[in-house]
C-alpha cells in the first residue's frame, strides 16, 4: 500500500469547529445498537452472578485463541477503514478502494473463524438450551455475527463507491457513515471478548 505520508488535502477546509463524521441518522442508529448490546451485557453479567461455577467452567472450555484472533481481525479491519477514509479525504480513490478491500478480507476472516468456532460447539452438542452460559454465548456472539455481516455488506458498497471515485473532500458523508457503523461493530466486540471469553 502507499507510504505513510499523504499529499495535502486538495481543498482547504472551510470549517474548523466540531464536526460529527458521517450522517446524523447513523449516529442515532449506533446509539440504539449500543443500548441493545449494553442490556445484553448486563443480562449476561447478572445471570452469571447466580451461576458462577457453571459460567466459569463453560467459559474455560471456549476457544480463547479464536476469540483473540477475531479481536485482532476486527481491529485491523477498523484500522484499514480509517486508512480508506484518510485516503478518500485526500482524493486518493484507488488506494481508498484497496484499503477497503483489505478491511473486507479481515471481516471475512472474522466470519470464517467464528463459523469454525460454531461448528466445534455444535459438534459438542452445545445449543441455546444446553445451559444459561451457552444461551448467552451463542445468542450474544450470533447477534454480533449478524452485525458483522451487515457491516461487510456496507464495506462492499463503500468499496464499490471508492472504485467509482465517489469519495473526496466535500463528498465524505457516504464513506464516513459506513465507517462509523463498522467501528461500532468493532467497539461492541471489544467488550464482548473480555466479558464472555476471559473475565471470571
Amino acid at each position: 500500500m502507499e507510504q505513510d505520508t499523504l499529499p495535502a488535502i486538495a481543498t482547504p477546509p472551510d470549517d474548523t469547529g466540531p464536526r460529527l463524521a458521517g450522517d446524523l441518522a447513523i449516529w442515532f442508529f449506533i446509539l440504539a445498537e449500543l443500548l441493545a448490546f449494553g442490556v445484553f451485557f448486563a443480562a449476561y453479567a447478572f445471570t452469571r452472578a447466580n451461576n458462577i461455577e457453571l459460567f466459569d467452567a463453560e467459559q474455560a472450555a471456549l476457544n480463547r485463541n479464536a476469540g483473540a484472533l477475531n479481536t485482532v481481525l476486527l481491529l485491523t479491519a477498523s484500522y484499514f477503514v480509517v486508512r480508506a477514509v484518510q485516503a478518500a479525504e485526500h482524493s486518493l480513490s484507488q488506494p481508498c478502494a484497496r484499503w477497503l478491500l483489505a478491511a473486507i478480507a479481515c471481516g471475512a476472516g472474522f466470519l470464517v473463524v467464528k463459523m469454525f468456532e460454531y461448528a466445534a460447539a455444535f459438534e459438542h452438542n452445545i445449543s441455546l438450551s444446553s445451559s444459561p452460559f451457552h444461551m448467552f454465548y451463542l445468542s450474544l456472539t450470533f447477534f454480533h455475527f449478524m452485525h458483522v455481516i451487515l457491516g461487510m455488506v456496507i464495506l462492499v458498497a463503500m468499496w464499490n463507491g471508492a472504485r467509482q471515485g465517489r469519495y473526496r473532500p466535500g463528498e465524505m458523508n457516504g464513506i464516513e457513515t459506513g465507517a462509523a457503523y463498522w467501528h461500532m461493530v468493532d467497539l461492541v466486540w471489544l467488550i464482548l471478548f473480555p466479558l464472555v471469553y476471559v473475565i471470571h
Binding site: 505513510d4 505520508t5 499523504l6 488535502i9 481543498t11 477546509p13 472551510d14 470549517d15 474548523t16 466540531p18 464536526r19 460529527l20 463524521a21 449516529w27 449506533i30 446509539l31 449500543l34 443500548l35 449494553g38 451485557f41 448486563a42 453479567a45 447478572f46 452469571r48 452472578a49 447466580n50 458462577i52 480463547r64 485463541n65 476469540g67 483473540a68 479481536t71 485482532v72 481491529l75 485491523t76 477498523s78 484500522y79 477503514v81 480509517v82 486508512r83 477514509v85 484518510q86 479525504e89 473532500p169 465524505m172 464516513e176 465507517a179 462509523a180 467501528h183 468493532d186 467497539l187 471489544l190 467488550i191 471478548f193 473480555p194 466479558l195 471469553y197 476471559v198 473475565i199 471470571h200
Partner: protein
C-alpha cells in the same frame, strides 16, 4: 466541506499497534487464568482504553460536538460499572 478530522496515517498505525498489544495482553491474562477484583479491573481498564481509541480516533468523535463523546464514552463507563457490580455481587463474601 469536511475538515480533516481523521488524523494522519502515522497516528492511525501507531494506535492500531497499541490496540493489538492490548489485545495480546487480554489474551495473555486469560491464558494465565487471571481472576479476582484486580484482574477484572485490569481487563476492564484495557477494554475501556481500546474502546476510547475507537470512539475518539477511529470514529473521529474527538472532533465532534462534546455531546457525542459523552454519550458513547458514557455508555462504555455505564456498561463496565454494571458488569463490575454484577461480578462483585457474585464474589464470595
Amino acid at each position: 466541506m469536511s475538515s480533516d478530522v481523521h488524523g494522519t496515517p502515522r497516528r492511525a498505525t501507531l494506535l492500531w499497534a497499541t490496540l493489538i498489544v492490548a489485545t495480546l495482553l487480554t489474551w495473555g491474562m486469560g491464558a494465565l487464568g487471571a481472576t479476582g477484583k484486580g484482574a477484572i479491573a485490569a481487563l476492564a481498564a484495557i477494554s475501556f482504553w481500546k474502546g476510547a481509541v475507537i470512539i475518539l480516533d477511529f470514529m473521529a468523535l474527538r472532533h465532534a460536538p462534546a455531546l457525542w463523546r459523552m454519550l458513547t464514552l458514557g455508555w462504555m463507563i455505564l456498561v463496565w460499572v454494571v458488569i463490575a457490580i454484577a461480578y462483585i455481587k457474585g464474589m464470595p463474601q
